[in-house]
């Protein structure tokens, strides 16, 4: 597989999208959404921004399946660490105190 050269035009579009996302996340932070939605909105924007950086600035969109596998496995293990730890803290209060 030969190397894919990402054109500056694409870098500029991604750069503008990242700046827009930063502005959006600041504006959204001052808006009082119901319940836990403030955190959800902030994290959604952050995940979208990170995905754009990974796919375009880091060329992963044009990389081999092996790179996708490595990143996918990282996210998978990260999810295990979060899921098991949070399930512990979350359910501790379910038991009556001894």
């Amino acid at each position: 597989m030969s190397e894919h050269i990402v054109q500056p035009r694409i870098y500029i579009v991604i750069f503008l999208a990242l700046m827009l996302g930063t502005g959006l996340t600041v504006v959204a932070a001052f808006h009082d959404f119901p319940g836990p939605l403030n955190a959800v909105v902030a994290l959604t924007i952050a995940v979208i921004k990170a995905t754009l950086v990974v796919l375009y600035f880091m060329h992963v969109r044009y990389s081999s399946r092996l790179i996708w596998l490595v990143i996918g496995s990282a996210l998978f293990w990260l999810a295990i660490m979060f899921a098991l730890t949070i399930s512990d803290y979350w359910t501790r209060t379910w038991l009556p105190p001894l």
Binding site: E3, A46, V54, Y56, T85, I86, Y89
Partner: protein, 249 residues
């Protein structure tokens, strides 16, 4: 199996190491290796994000109060600075790919200036926290964590404004996490600047071109990764309690 042993092509690139068949294979192996390293980085930053998540869940009011004391303007400016630096880094990679040595050097220097700007702004923020006695524990000997707490109606921004239900002790916990995460991030930036200096010298000596630019590309991966960490740190540390600012007691 073919009997023909791998032979070095006549005129093979001088940067080609003997254990690779060609430049393409060498470049892909390098990129894969860098990603494996970045996975380890994801895991240890992930553990810090996990600690943050658990304590924020346990002490939401203290976290909101502590976060609101951070300077949102400096945080936002730094986010923009890092995004611009990621763009200039991406352009440095593009410039080497198309063999524009001068542009490569210009982009690398711009990236370094932006990285140094980020660290400078970070230093101002750290100093503000020092002034307000918000450095946790006894990290600075003789200057313990001891912020002045604002009474209702007091608008002094150097004082800590507690949201209902927050305690100063749990605010200190937030600042432990804040300094651990931003400190490690800043350390990565400093290492990144060192890498940029080496790259600039290599580019200056004409080491890179369309055939060989793996060091620039791989360092770019590192730089963008550090940017991604900040993309998460900014909303999680600076923005989490802003919607509660009207309810400060």
């Amino acid at each position: 199996m073919s009997e023909v042993a791998t032979t070095y092509e006549a005129g093979a690139h001088s940067a080609l190491q003997h254990h690779f068949e060609n430049m393409e294979q060498q470049r892909e192996a390098g990129t894969l290796g860098m990603w494996v390293f970045l996975v380890t980085e994801i895991m240890f930053f992930g553990a810090l994000f996990l600690a943050y998540t658990i304590y924020r869940y346990q002490y939401p009011a203290a976290f909101a109060s502590a976060s609101n004391h951070l300077d949102i303007r400096l945080g936002a400016i730094n986010t923009a600075v890092l995004i611009v630096s990621s763009f200039t880094m991406a352009m440095a990679v593009y410039s080497t790919q198309v063999g524009k040595q001068r542009n490569t050097i210009i982009c690398l220097i711009l990236t370094m200036i932006l990285g140094a700007t980020f660290l400078g702004i970070k230093a101002i923020e750290y100093h503000d926290k020092y002034r307000d006695h918000l450095i946790p524990g006894q990290l600075i000997p003789g200057h313990p964590f001891n912020p002045a707490v604002a009474k209702p109606g007091d608008t002094d921004e150097h004082k800590l404004h507690l949201v209902e239900g927050a305690t100063v002790h749990n605010v200190e916990l937030f600042y432990w996490i804040y300094f651990a995460m931003t400190g490690l991030h800043a350390l990565h930036m400093i290492i990144g600047l060192g890498i940029m200096i080496v790259l600039t010298i290599m580019a200056w000596r004409g080491r890179f071109g369309p055939e060989y630019h793996a060091p620039v590309e791989i360092s770019g991966l590192y730089w963008h990764f550090v940017d991604i960490i900040w993309i998460f740190l900014f909303p999680l540390l600076y923005l989490l309690g802003r919607h509660l600012e009207g309810r400060i007691g």
